[in-house]
């Protein structure tokens, strides 16, 4: 969102007010999307998480190192909702890992652009804390940035692309739940 929209003089023509309201609503809509996204992952409802993506969605988790150097390798690399579905399926049905909570915090949302056709680009910071059931402390598992492309489907926003770029060089052991 263009910051100047909200800081300008309040007495404006109705059209401008509309665009300010629109921006505010969009911002709020994405924030609440992100909150629901975090909640689905926190509660490990991976099937619900899958439904937050469009059919052709790309979902990639990659290191800052790879991202900055233009290297494509991702910890998780999904080129379609089908692959996101398989990821959710594998993690819930086949994977062995110690029980844990992963809590997601998403903040500093910036809406970068909104197209007429409903495509919205944005970014937000995220933090993922991990608690192993048998360990006393939460540990910082990942800190990074979401680079997002949203699209509207049936009126609702869905992710057409989410690239999760994490800044920490080392992943602590294993990433068992998506970010």
């Amino acid at each position: 969102m263009d910051d100047s929209v909200l800081t300008r003089d309040h007495a404006r023509a109705p059209a401008a007010l509309d665009s300010r309201l629109e921006a505010l609503l969009l911002h709020h809509e994405i924030e609440s999307f992100n909150a629901r996204y975090a909640q689905a992952l926190d509660e490990q409802r991976l099937a619900d998480w899958t439904e937050m993506f469009t059919d052709d969605a790309r979902y990639v988790v990659l290191s800052r190192e790879n991202f900055d150097r233009g290297l494509p390798v991702g910890l998780i690399y999904c080129e379609s909702k089908r692959m996101i579905h398989d990821r959710a399926f594998a993690l819930t049905e086949t994977s062995m890992f110690a029980p844990r909570y992963l809590r997601h915090f998403i903040a500093n949302l910036v809406v970068l652009g909104a197209e007429i056709n409903g495509t919205v680009t944005s970014r937000a910071n995220y933090i993922v804390l991990q608690v192993l059931f048998d360990r006393p402390d939460a540990t910082l598992h990942q800190v990074g940035v979401y680079y997002d492309v949203f699209r509207r489907e049936g009126g609702a926003l869905k992710l057409a692309e989410r690239r999760c770029v994490y800044d920490n060089l080392l992943v602590p052991n294993a990433l068992c739940i998506p970010v």
């Binding site: 150097r69 089908r82 579905h85 994977s95 992943v171 990433l175 068992c176």
Partner: protein
Amino acid sequence: MAWQRVASISEIDADGVLGVDVDGSPVALYRLGNEVFATAGICTHALAILSDGFVEDGKIECPLHQGQFDIRSGKALCPPVTEDLRTYAVKLDGNDVCIDMERPAANAAPGPNAGDGIRAAAQENNADGRKSTGPNVQSQEWLTQRYVWPEEGLTRIPDWVYTDHTIYEREVEKIFHGRTWNYVALECEVPKAGDFIRSNVGPTPVVVVRADDGSINVFENRCSHRAAEFCRELSGNVKEFVCPYHQWSYDLQGNLAGVPFRRGVNGKGGMPADFDSSRHGLHQLNVKSHRGVVFASYARDMESFEDYLGPEVLKEFEATFDGRKPRLLGYYRHTLPGNWKLYHENLKDPYHATLLHTFLVTFGLLVAGNRSLMLADATGRHGVMASAKSERKSVSSDAKKEMRAYREGMSLAEPRFMDFVEEFDSPWSVTMATIWPNLIIQREMNTLGMRQIVPTGPHEFIMKWTMFGFEGDDEEMTRHRLRQGNLMGPAGFLGLEDNEAIKFVQDGMQHVPGGQHLVKLDPAVAAGTSESLISEASIRAMYRHWRVEMGL
């Protein structure tokens, strides 16, 4: 009484048996830990040759009817053998094993000198002039008294191997800084003159750089002035390295090129007049590149890389690096809360693959009964776990019963990421080559990676994965490799399970004094290559080597 030399200690495998002929009488020689024993070579029951039998827990099992004798006393232990085996006194003279045919072995273990021959065989191998920081020759005695391998031999591994700090320090000295080739980089990471990456040899940080003449140099990332880790970027391109602290500069060969205020200021201060820059370069390592893969060694007089791998493992190496030029696709890096050797063992343990990895089994990538091989080189240090993908329908109902992991009727929405595009001249669709001491070459169908082990202590190591394809891959092939990458790495369907399992093993050792692991599977192979997936023979082979290197 006549002592006669009958063999060299190196001919007898640790926890193995060797048959020799002494004046027409067959004699069996055994090595248990650091001790050697001798018995008559023929079973007292039905004239079978005992050296074809199997040594376990201090017993020799006859190959014919599985009768057992105690190796130390010759005592017959179980039917069908009833008559005790004759034993002979043994003494070690340097590396020579001498026996006295007229004298039986003392039932008790031989005196403290008996093992010295073996210990001597594990030479101080820190090859360069640097002072050893670890235990010295004198403390060898203390070490071997303190760290006693279980008498059962290689079928047991004591916990201290994985948890003890003295052992870890000795591993750095004897193994990572010893006579080994350590993986440090792919050449394609430093394609041009001045390109560098940071890497490690064992825990030690190094810089890998391409010099102007095209050669690749590896030196410690440690300033020769005050030890500063001078190179701070993970990768980049430079003309020279300048230490940020006092700006000593080094050329791309690691030679000291400049010392600011070397002559002091106004005739005061500065370096002594006889300061010789040529003697204060960065600590350089021996470097060898094979098919675009770069290795480094602290040893100056290392055997060739080809000899180091041995013919069988070299063949597998060259099946993956088949002449095409590797192309860098990116990295995974993660910590692993376990001992670094557990990672080797995980990939010398094909048993786990069919049990832990539900995904693998459910989708037919690897099941008990697939064509497979667990190869160990002659020394036991390297290995290759190899398997051929089967069609899912061929999973036998027998195998399914044993594998709780098998799930009927599951399917993927996007199964093509599991496709194997044939690209290698090899009967195997998957090979995991464990190259001692710090590399695993992953060829999981079409997702390819170098996994570099960087130990940071007995309880933790860092794993750096360098994922690659080849020049000439089209866009679709590259994306196929990336999609298939979902199997591996710290978030991989298989990879994350291995990481968790290794953590569980380390957790299990934390508060149990004197614990041991059991690695008994596949007794038909004492230690070495096995065609069965249900085998731990390669793990035993690795520890046979480790014990020699460590002198333990």
